[in-house]
């Protein structure tokens, strides 16, 4: 095989995610009364970026063959923290942002420590930590409220030169500065390797524990960025149980749409970003087609079912029935 074919094979999931997103976004834009204007793009970008950060956090954990059911609650918790810290002048705001990201990092580190060093199963460990994080969020924000540095918030949810949404630039910066270096680093490769075959990775002397731990910690940071961005978007902090739960749910959906294998080791956070935008577009789609809002959850569910079933097509290529059972 030629080199580019290996590359194509590796990126297949991501490209599928991109294709789904472009298709859905095109349908959305063509039917939107205002068409392809900066305002429409900006609104879509801001809503998509929130889920994109959470989906990136989920991707990191899923790549190590785990699952993080607490991402939504880290997102809610950091939102509540940010509504206290990210205020005041430039210096205070900067310290506040660092504080929020550190809080997210700490949440991720707790999950990672429990799963890797405590040897608990990711599903149950993160179910338990999600209760703790939600409790903490409720503790610091019993009722919705708080404030945020509005200048910064307006800048980050606005657009550069009235054309490019700032949130997309921010997301791109995070991908270039954090995700790609991590992907290429030894730790990143160890995280991938432990997801595809932990035994083989161990035998080849990869630092799997550190790699997995780094993935959980970085996942916490990404979820924290999502929480921070939510604060910029809503100007308040709210310990919303429903919202945390649905972000966890849709982060998993976004990861699947973005071509990341839930068995670990395959896929990329970039795919998950496309998946997140595709998932968000489904919700907006109903708006442009003027569907009764009551139908929205059902149609979203049906779209999710169809997207998930696409993955089953691979079964037709299986030559040996034993390959059904991983």
């Amino acid at each position: 095989m030629k080199e580019w074919r290996y590359w194509l094979n590796e990126q297949r999931g991501t490209l599928m995610g991109l294709a789904i997103f472009i298709l859905m976004f095109a349908v959305y834009i063509f039917n939107h009364p205002a068409g392809f204007t900066p305002d429409v793009v900006q609104t879509a970008a801001n809503k998509g970026v929130l889920l994109a950060f959470v989906a990136m956090a989920q991707t990191l954990v899923v790549l190590t063959a785990g699952i993080d059911l607490s991402v939504g609650m880290i997102f809610v918790l950091t939102n509540c923290i940010a509504s206290y810290l990210v205020v005041g002048d430039t210096g205070e705001t900067t310290i506040g942002i660092i504080g929020v990201l550190l809080a997210g990092m700490l949440c991720g580190a707790v999950n990672g420590a429990l799963v890797i060093y405590g040897r608990l199963q990711p599903i149950v460990a993160t179910i338990a930590t999600s209760a703790i994080y939600f409790g903490l969020a409720l503790l610091i924000r019993p009722i919705p409220g708080g404030e945020v540095n509005e200048e910064l918030a307006d800048f980050l949810t606005g657009s550069l030169f009235d054309v490019v949404p700032t949130s997309l630039v921010l997301l791109l910066a995070v991908v270039i500065v954090i995700w790609i270096p991590f992907r290429k680093s030894v730790l990143g490769r160890a995280a991938y390797a432990s997801g595809s075959s932990e035994q083989a990775a161990y035998m080849s002397g990869m630092p799997i524990r550190r790699g997995k731990f780094a993935a959980y910690v970085l996942g916490g940071v990404f979820a924290g960025m999502g929480g921070l961005f939510l604060t910029f978007f809503t100007y308040t902090g709210e310990a919303a149980f429903q919202s945390g739960g649905s972000y966890t749910l849709w982060s998993i959906a976004a990861v699947v749409l973005g071509g990341v294998s839930l068995f670990g080791g395959r896929g990329s956070a970039i795919g998950a970003i496309f998946g997140a935008f595709a998932a968000r577009t489904t919700g907006d789609m109903l708006f442009v087609f003027d569907v009764d809002p009551l139908w929205q959850p059902l149609l979203q569910g049906v779209v999710l079912m169809i997207a998930v079933s696409i993955g089953a097509i691979g079964l037709l290529r299986v030559r040996n029935r034993l390959d059904w059972f991983q």
Partner: protein, 330 residues
């Protein structure tokens, strides 16, 4: 390492048979229950009164019915995340059926349970025949069930209240002093124990949980077995929803949200491996009682919701670290 194991085996061999057979996880879970009862009695003197304990059992029975289905699925190495809205759907459909006169009243419970079984069928088909990870399929069917119920209710909680038969099943008494809900839970438990201990189907569940490949090669129709397990789980979730509707005397949206995580926690705290193939039903009963008592003690202590959530999470992690750890990989 082998010396250690041998030594441990020898110590174990000296113990009487009935102690040797006890699963350490189940024993720890029951130990924790006793601990919780002692802690609770320090806070309130009527914590150990029979009325209070019976009331706890009644509350536990709803979670117990959900956990029975959840355990079946977890033993296979899968998970059922569609519990919340399948429960709600079961309750709402049962209440809706009761609106159709006398025959509706008779059919109310079967209709609710059948709706749950139908969603279980979709879950099972996706997992067993389409080989989609169970977490994804059940997540998607949960959203679909939610969508259907939102559409059905028009966005509001419908006012149809639970018919008398359902209310009687959840809160009435056949045997004086023992609520019917507890009897229902005991019956479900008896069926599950029989399933695991005395049927080839139960054996097959454990077999598939350990290695689906091996089970398939030894001639089991593994796909059908997985499918049936999901159908049972869906039916039991919906049945629990019907019971909760009877207890609260009406079906409400998001009534099932409070049951998903506790049911998984109860099964896992009862010593069932989340990877499947290992676990006992007695442990699940212990887990259910443990979770219910924990929630009740936190309520008795008049802990605010925030503190309740934190303690709940910390206790689950603590108990998992005590006995829910996977063996070291090297």
């Amino acid at each position: 390492m082998s010396d250690m194991t041998e030594e441990r085996l020898q110590t174990a061999a000296r113990l009487p048979a009935f102690i040797r057979r006890i699963d350490p996880a189940v024993a720890t879970a029951f130990g924790c229950i006793i601990l919780l009862l002692i802690v609770g009695s320090l806070y309130s003197s009527n914590f150990l009164s029979p009325e209070y304990l019976i009331q706890q059992l009644k509350v536990a029975s709803f979670l117990g019915v959900v956990a029975a289905g959840m355990m079946l699925v977890i033993l296979l190495g899968h998970i059922d995340l569609s519990v919340p809205w399948v429960m709600t759907m079961g309750a709402m459909m049962a209440c809706a059926a009761a609106g159709f006169g006398v025959s509706g009243h008779i059919l109310a419970i079967p209709v609710g349970v059948l709706c749950g079984a139908f969603f279980g069928l979709i879950n099972g088909f996706g997992v067993a025949y389409m080989r989609i990870p169970s977490m994804i399929v059940t997540l998607a069917t949960n959203v679909v069930a939610q969508g259907l119920m939102v559409l059905y209710t028009g966005g509001f909680s419908p006012q149809d209240s639970a018919p008398p038969a359902i209310r009687w099943l959840a809160t009435g008494f056949i045997i004086p002093g023992l609520p019917n809900a507890v009897i229902v839970w005991a019956l479900v438990s008896a069926v599950m124990v029989f399933l695991y201990a005395r049927t080839s189907y139960g054996r097959a569940i454990y077999g598939i949980g350990n290695s689906e490949r091996a089970a398939y090669l030894s001639g089991m129709n593994t796909r059908r077995i997985v499918l049936i397990a999901f159908v049972i789980s869906g039916a039991l979730s919906a049945f629990a929803g019907v019971l909760v509707a009877g207890y609260a005397s009406k079906a409400a949206q998001s009534m099932g949200d409070a049951y998903l995580l506790p049911s998984i926690a109860a099964v896992v705290l009862g010593g069932t491996s989340i990877l499947g193939g290992k676990g006992s039903y007695l442990g699940t009963i212990a887990g259910v009682i443990l979770i219910t008592l924990l929630q009740s003690i936190l309520a008795v202590m008049q802990m605010p919701e925030a503190g309740r959530q934190i303690i709940y999470g910390v206790v689950i992690i603590g108990m998992l670290l005590l006995y829910g750890r996977t063996p070291a990989s090297r």
